[in-house]
């Protein structure tokens, strides 16, 4: 699992690679937190269930990230562990472990995950996704 950031004039584009779709969702979450949170911790004392639905993996990825953004903004929740019950082209459901970040621990304000130039495809090694976050 790996992510990197590609240059973009106004916002940030993350490129994520993973062997499975579940791991891709986890990697994309990692990319989001790398942008938004200072010094992401590995603690996981808080649990939440998260379920998103979509009409394809691309939409599912964006909905997943938007839910995480909402939880980060409203509940200050950062997910560090992901236990998936289901992750296919229609539904992603996972038990998340994580922590409540300190009020001063935000690095960037992420307005949302966009569909702009969204790319998600299977590769020889698994999956690759590119998604632009609006900052």
């Amino acid at each position: 699992m790996a992510f990197r950031f590609l240059d973009h004039t106004a916002d940030v584009q993350a490129e994520c690679r993973a062997a499975t779709f579940e791991q891709l969702l986890e990697t994309a979450a990692g990319a989001l937190y790398a942008i938004a949170i200072k010094d992401v911790r590995s603690s996981a004392g808080v649990e939440r269930m998260l379920e998103v639905s979509g009409t394809g993996r691309e939409e599912l990825l964006v909905r997943w990230l938007q839910e995480l953004i909402y939880l980060m903004d409203v509940k200050r929740f950062v997910a560090t562990e992901f236990d998936f019950e289901r992750a296919d082209s229609r539904v992603a459901r996972a038990c998340l472990g994580g922590y409540i970040h300190d009020p001063g621990a935000r690095a960037e304000e992420v307005k949302g995950a966009t569909y702009h130039e969204l790319e998600l495809r299977e590769t020889d090694d698994g999956f690759l996704a590119r998604v632009i976050f609006d900052l």
Binding site: T9, A10, E109, G112, Y115, D134, L135
Partner: protein, 482 residues
């Protein structure tokens, strides 16, 4: 994306010829130099995409500060005709609904306050909540109060004691967009915004002390209350988490709506629905609610600024003389009547990173500005300057009464961070007599002056193209950022 063909029409106008599936040509208002980055980052391609929207009228346009956005470029303008299947697109408004700015004039003279600028910036930094997730400016609102905010905007703030009627008279739409419906906003949007009212936010949002450095149009400057050497205060912020969630929620609705109405799109982020459809009406009602949140937000912050300056200088409101010149929104969709082939026609004008620039003949312009035209505020980067323009008849003819909203980015955030550290940047600004305080070093570096286009070059194009009449230039002296 393929290279876009451009045809130069005059010194400041370039046309993207209409080729299928475009429904109208595209127009870019720029100098040859400003055109380079617009071509390079594919904003021109995005204008060609916008020209494909159903019911689009005239031209899809890019302003001189345009750069790549999602769906519409930032600095994009397009009008659709509801009577001809014209659509409404959240991508033509953006995440930060009614991100905008307001400029306040004061009785303060720069020469008098110069020794106290650092104290004033400290006072603003202390009293105006800023930074990612900033909250706590006013007590948490109950649902009933939140409904009033969303449906009455800046009027709610004035009723609570944040400012006066004169502020509303100097705000676009008097600080309240009609048609707002709190019920059109999701519970999530309310949750995301309920603690953020009266806060600046982060990123490119700022509160900036400035001095009127140059006056170009004496008559207009007199009407606007802009005198050389006078201290001003500009606030740039929007609808915070509330607006972002509205955009998120309705992008999903509009993607389904586009499929439902059989609308083919070159870019998913241009998702849309016919203006008269239930989906579009709901979006517009929610968008108006977010616009009102933003106006309430800026109104509260302006009052916090007034109090901070009065307290720091130990002067009365009368001595401070802080008066709102104008408040403009630059991410919005509005129904306006424009001349289309000689016929007054009701259009839905999308301005994403673009400002309304109406002449004095328009009834929408505040009474006090009818003799000179609507003030148009164009903030530049924190190290260079900002401009005040007046709206013109020519803008009505060329751009549906629209102008640019700022300087526009040229560098990515990572490139900006590599160009200078926050400490180096602070020293550079200090050497220019500009005090800056920011919650985030990372954000400060990302917002470095070199990350933005040359505001003087942008202003020059605006003036030459006739989208606005140059009135005054303001030089920054102190900035707070989130």
């Amino acid at each position: 994306m393929s290279e876009i063909e451009l045809r130069q029409l005059d010194e400041t106008t370039w046309e993207i010829p209409q080729t299928p599936p475009m429904r109208v040509p595209g127009r870019i208002i720029a100098s040859e130099k400003l055109l380079e980055p617009i071509r390079r980052d594919k904003a021109a391609n995005q204008i060609a995409n916008v020209a494909c929207l159903p019911g689009v009228v005239g031209y899809a346009m890019a302003m001189p500060d345009a750069h790549w956005g999602y769906g519409f470029p930032i600095g994009g303008v397009a009008a659709t005709d509801p009577n001809k299947g014209g659509v409404v697109s959240p991508g033509g408004v953006g995440y930060d609904i009614n991100c905008g700015c307001r400029l306040m004039t004061t009785h303060l003279e720069y020469d008098t306050v110069k020794p106290r600028v650092r104290d004033l910036v400290n006072a603003l930094y202390r009293d105006v909540p800023c930074g990612v997730g900033s909250e706590g400016a006013i007590p948490r609102l109950g649902r009933k109060e939140m409904k009033h905010v969303l449906e009455t905007g800046a009027r709610w703030a004035v009723k609570q004691g944040y400012g006066t009627q004169a502020d509303l008279d100097a705000t676009e739409d008097s600080g309240c967009m009609p048609g707002a419906d709190a019920a059109a906003a999701s519970e999530r949007a309310i949750k995301r915004g309920e603690t953020q009212l009266g806060t600046l936010g982060s990123g490119n949002h700022f509160a900036e002390l400035g001095v009127v450095e140059q006056v170009f149009d004496d008559a207009a400057a007199r009407v606007y209350g802009l005198a050389k050497g006078a201290v001003t205060l500009m606030i740039h912020s929007g609808s915070r988490g509330f607006g972002y969630q509205i955009c998120d929620d309705y992008i999903r609705v509009m993607m389904q709506a586009a499929a439902k109405y059989g609308i083919q799109l070159p870019d998913k982020q241009l998702c849309c629905a016919p203006a008269e459809s239930p989906e579009a009406r709901q979006y517009l009602a929610a968008m108006a609610a977010a616009a009102n949140y933003a106006w309430a937000n800026r109104q509260i912050m302006m009052e916090l600024v007034r109090r901070a300056l009065q307290h720091a200088l130990r002067i009365s409101p009368r001595d401070l003389g802080a008066a709102l010149l104008y408040d403009v929104c630059h991410n919005i969709a509005k129904f306006e009547t424009h001349n289309v082939a000689g016929t007054p026609t009701r259009l839905c004008v999308h301005r994403k990173g673009a400002t309304r620039a109406f002449p004095g003949s328009r009834e929408e312009v505040s009474a006090q500005y009818r003799s000179v035209g609507q003030p148009v505020l164009i903030p530049g980067d924190m190290g260079t300057g900002s401009y005040v323009f007046a709206g013109t008849e020519e803008a009505m003819a060329k751009s549906f009464g629209s102008c640019c909203h700022g300087a526009g980015r040229v560098l990515s955030r990572s490139a900006a961070r590599k160009a200078a550290t926050a400490g180096e940047l602070r020293d550079q600004l200090d050497a220019r007599g500009i005090v800056v305080m920011a919650r985030s070093k990372k954000t400060l570096a990302e917002e470095a002056p070199q990350a933005y286009k040359d505001i003087d070059a942008v202003a020059d194009v605006v003036h030459k193209a006739g989208l606005g009449r140059r009135v005054a230039r303001i030089r920054p002296i102190g900035v707070i950022k989130g």
